[in-house]
């Protein structure tokens, strides 16, 4: 005769248990075969929270082998999925958000008091009991850097082909087209191929899409700021490098259009509350180049004004722009050799580096500031669509 023992329904303690044999299924369902679209409407970074609840149960049962295996399989799964979708901004951003969230969880629930200052009493109950995962946090941090670099590469790959036409060639200011330098009017318009021509509006639309995706996926705001600082740096570098190599865009009218375009970008940053990213500051060399194109370039006083204004441009860059500067019409004079010599003499003491072009591939080091979550593990709901029925709540 079977004896059934009536057990009192216990409260969910925010842990998830699975059989060791189901680990591959867990990683497949939650990482390698998961589509970010499947989680629309769910808590942002849900995979990270679910994985932490699994980690917690392995810790709770003091099962170091299971914990090793889960963390290794998870990290390798994330590496695989981002490699497979190496051109996909959405997937890359999704795994950056989740990898960082898992990293934050491992800190927030580490038991280290430094990471617990914002925890509720309930959250403190959800801390790890047996294991110190400091070394795994380092691996997750390295993984997050790797994903961040991929995210920047993907975003730059989308934006870069748009930059030159949007920033230097497209004319959104009415009446400027008639003010192109002599001899370049026809050529510059035929140089803009219909298919490869972009207006600044298209660049900003694309950046808005990036911004929306990252925000919706719960990527940390501090990381989003760093993404835009990096993208603005690239916009500055690609535009300035082109300006330094093309005579047809070194004119008063391009300077005016460029200054207008930069103000549109600054406005875009303000509209998305991204001013504190430092992105606008990366445009400073370009702002000065636009001003240099517009300033008078004749008298010693003009030379002094240029030298005191163009602090973010090197001597070589200033001289190059002045050399390339093309008068609008027969009434505007070329920049004289004497004027350029005056500038060179005034800037001699600066000892600027000799390279002319900017390294548009330069990357600022990324940092992932600790960002604890106010969510409590036992409040997290796992949607049936994830097919994780083999996980049992503990």
């Amino acid at each position: 005769r079977q004896v059934t023992v009536q057990r009192k329904e216990k409260d969910f303690q925010g842990m998830l248990e699975y059989h060791r044999d189901d680990e591959a299924l867990l990683v497949r369902s939650l990482v390698t075969e998961l589509r970010p679209q499947a989680l629309v409407g769910a808590v942002p970074c849900l995979p990270a929270y679910i994985l932490y609840m699994c980690v917690r149960h392995a810790d709770y049962t003091n099962d170091d082998a299971k914990l090793h295996s889960l963390l290794t399989a998870t990290i390798n799964g994330i590496k695989r999925v981002i490699k497979k979708h190496s051109e996909d901004f959405e997937v890359t951003s999704f795994w950056l958000a989740n990898s960082c969230r898992l990293l934050h969880c491992l800190k927030q629930y580490s038991g280290d008091e430094g990471f617990m200052t914002q925890n509720t009493a309930k959250q403190n109950e959800h801390c790890l009991k047996n294991f110190d995962l400091t070394e795994y946090r380092q691996v997750l941090s390295d993984l997050s850097i790797h994903i961040y670099q991929q995210l920047i590469r993907v975003a730059e790959g989308v934006l870069q082909p748009m930059i030159v036409s949007a920033m230097l060639e497209n004319e959104s200011i009415q009446g400027l087209s008639g003010m192109k330098p002599m001899g370049y009017r026809k050529r510059s318009s035929s140089m803009v191929d219909g298919e490869n021509s972009y207006c600044l509006e298209a660049v900003m639309r694309q950046m808005t899409t990036f911004h929306t995706v990252m925000g919706d996926q719960g990527l940390d705001p501090e990381i989003i700021l760093q993404v835009f600082r990096q993208l603005f740096y690239m916009i500055n570098a690609v535009t300035l490098n082109n300006l330094l190599l093309r005579k047809d865009v070194c004119s008063w009218s391009t300077g005016m259009q460029l200054r207008y375009n930069i103000s549109q970008l600054e406005e875009w940053l303000r509209g998305r509350n991204l001013q504190q990213s430092g992105a606008a500051q990366t445009l400073e060399p370009l702002i000065q180049a636009a001003q240099l194109l517009q300033l008078k370039k004749k008298t010693p006083e003009d030379a002094e004004a240029i030298c005191s204004l163009c602090t973010a441009l090197s001597t070589q860059q200033i001289v190059k722009i002045l050399n390339l500067y093309t008068p609008l019409n027969e009434f505007e004079e070329r920049v004289t050799v004497g004027f350029i010599r005056t500038i060179q003499a005034q800037l001699q003491e600066r000892n600027d580096p000799p390279q002319l072009l900017l390294d548009f591939k330069h990357m600022f080091p990324v940092v992932f500031p600790f960002n604890p979550s106010s969510l409590t593990m036992d409040s997290i709901h796992i949607p049936a669509s994830l097919n994780l029925e083999f996980l049992s709540e503990v």
């Binding site: 591959a24 990683v27 390698t32 090793h68 399989a73 390798n76 047996n130 110190d132």
Partner: protein, 31 residues
């Protein structure tokens, strides 16, 4: 409830590069 501080055991982890060489239970993606 009061938390009883207990020393946690450091779980040694391989580096990110070493991890790739390890066999995980997840099967490789087909090409």
């Amino acid at each position: 409830s009061t938390l009883r501080p207990r020393p946690r055991v450091l779980l040694k982890a391989p580096t990110l590069a070493e991890m790739e060489e390890m066999n995980t239970s997840e099967e490789e993606d087909s090409p």
